[in-house]
Amino acid sequence: MNRAAVFLSIVLALAASGAAWAQEVESPPPVYDGLSTLWILMAAAMVFLMQAGFGMVESGLIRTKNSANVLMKNLLDFCFAALGFFVFGYAIMYGSEGAFVGTEGWFLVGASSPVEGLPFEIFWLFQAVFAGTAATIVSGAVAERMRFTAYLAYSFLITAFVYPVVGHWVWGGGWLASLDFHDFAGSTVVHGVGGVSALIAAWMLGPRFGRFNKNGTANVIGGHSLPLVALGTFILWFGWYGFNAGSTLGMGEPDVVARVAMNTTLAPSAAAIVAMFVAWGRYGKPDLSLALNGALAGLVGITAPCAVVGSGASIFIGIVAGFLVVFGIEWLNVVRIDDVVGAFPVHGLCGAWGTVAVGLFGQASLGSPADGLFYGGGFGQLGIQCLGVFACFAFAAVAMGIVFKTIDAVLGLRVSHETELRGLDIEEHGLESYSGFQIFTTE
């Protein structure tokens, strides 16, 4: 027994010295943290499932004649996001530490994980599903009228070039990162970029036929399945635990993971309740689709500050998000932009609010770069947060404006009037979502 132990220790010592010797010649084999890797793999899969959530919300909120088309877009924008993020996106976002763009690691050649203990592939996957989320936000806003080929081109361009630039500024060591701008899981980077792109696209496309009357008043074009919208929202909320709590990029600090998960529960709950009551008060009935939008608004709002604020602040952030989403949707009707699923109020407005909220409620003791305004930190962090939101939104608006203008010139953004009336399912894909059902295909 004793002998065996001695023998074993000699072998181990030899092996260790061998390793030490080898170290001088080549780099040491990386040491991975299994628990962190497992958690990020799981979180990435949960964020991936959010594609299903978006797909259900969007197909439920539109008419049957276009629901297969919007699901095609949801599938394909993720696939293009994965490839776009493989070819160019990752290099721009994490390639090197320039102020504005990374420039190394095209096709992931020579790319490495910036997070210790995490294999590169899992880090890439987690970032790629985020890129996919940013891309898929737009499909709901442009539903029922955007040409399929134009959408494919868009989804590659946003994930290969536009989203990664903002990502680099904030997470890849760019100029906003050096200013200590804090966006934990992407209220601005993911949802802000997606929401602004959605607004620009919906504005450039123009409203669906029959959405607004000639005198400017709005019509309702009812969604065909509220159960699908509800299912999609629950899937999104589930996925958000991966989105936010996975953005810890490991299990090194379980207390942070736990706090994030708790805040990710409180904010959407408060927001859904507020959105429900605001809609109840203004329109007379509690509206399911607005309450569901409210939950998403709270989730987007808490995405940036989830790690650095307390539970009370989370609830307050959710309450404000609940107001923002309902009034944001009303505002869209006033300016006559047809954002079919409310992508801009949910992802754009609440993304901006959540990011700014870091400068109000952030606590240095919880990991915020500085205390927020309401915790005695003054206006410093608040100013940085506002600057960051403005810069990212402005860049996304200009870049996506150019992208959509170019696509419009080359492919055409919008389907013909006849296609819009007959439905994109039958015209662009030659199929029907509910074949055999008696359903009105106009209106």
Binding site: F209, G210, E418, L421, R422, G430, L431, Q438, I439, F440, T441, T442, E443
Partner: protein, 110 residues
């Protein structure tokens, strides 16, 4: 009293409805129906060619006074011409009408 039955394509309904409203016909019944046509359509689904012989149509029904018939026909025709020019209108005699709430009969019940 006459019954007007217009069989049109689904995508024509908004235009027809708009013209009827402009001509002050505010009561219409619309139903989603399927109908055959002399020409069938080839459609490929999951790589398999399929012959489509039943097409989606909308049947619009109007119950109106005899004197309104030409105006209604004009309105429906205009709406159809604005949206591709398809469609057919059938004019039928209506024997009687009963308005349940008041018990009125005939043309007063329309």
């Amino acid at each position: 009293m006459k019954q007007l039955v217009a069989v049109i394509r689904p995508e024509q309904l908004p235009a027809v409805k708009e013209e009827l409203a402009r001509a002050e016909f505010h009561h219409l019944t619309a139903a989603s129906v399927m109908g055959t046509a002399p020409k069938t359509e080839q459609r490929v689904f999951r790589g398999v060619r399929r012959e489509i012989s039943l097409f989606r149509r909308v049947r619009v029904e109007l119950y109106i006074q005899d004197a309104q018939v030409e105006r209604a026909i004009d309105a429906i025709s205009k709406g159809c011409m604005n949206s591709g020019g398809f469609g057919k209108i059938f004019v039928n005699e209506v024997a009687d009408v009963v308005k349940i709430w008041t018990g009125e009969r005939g043309s007063r019940a329309l």
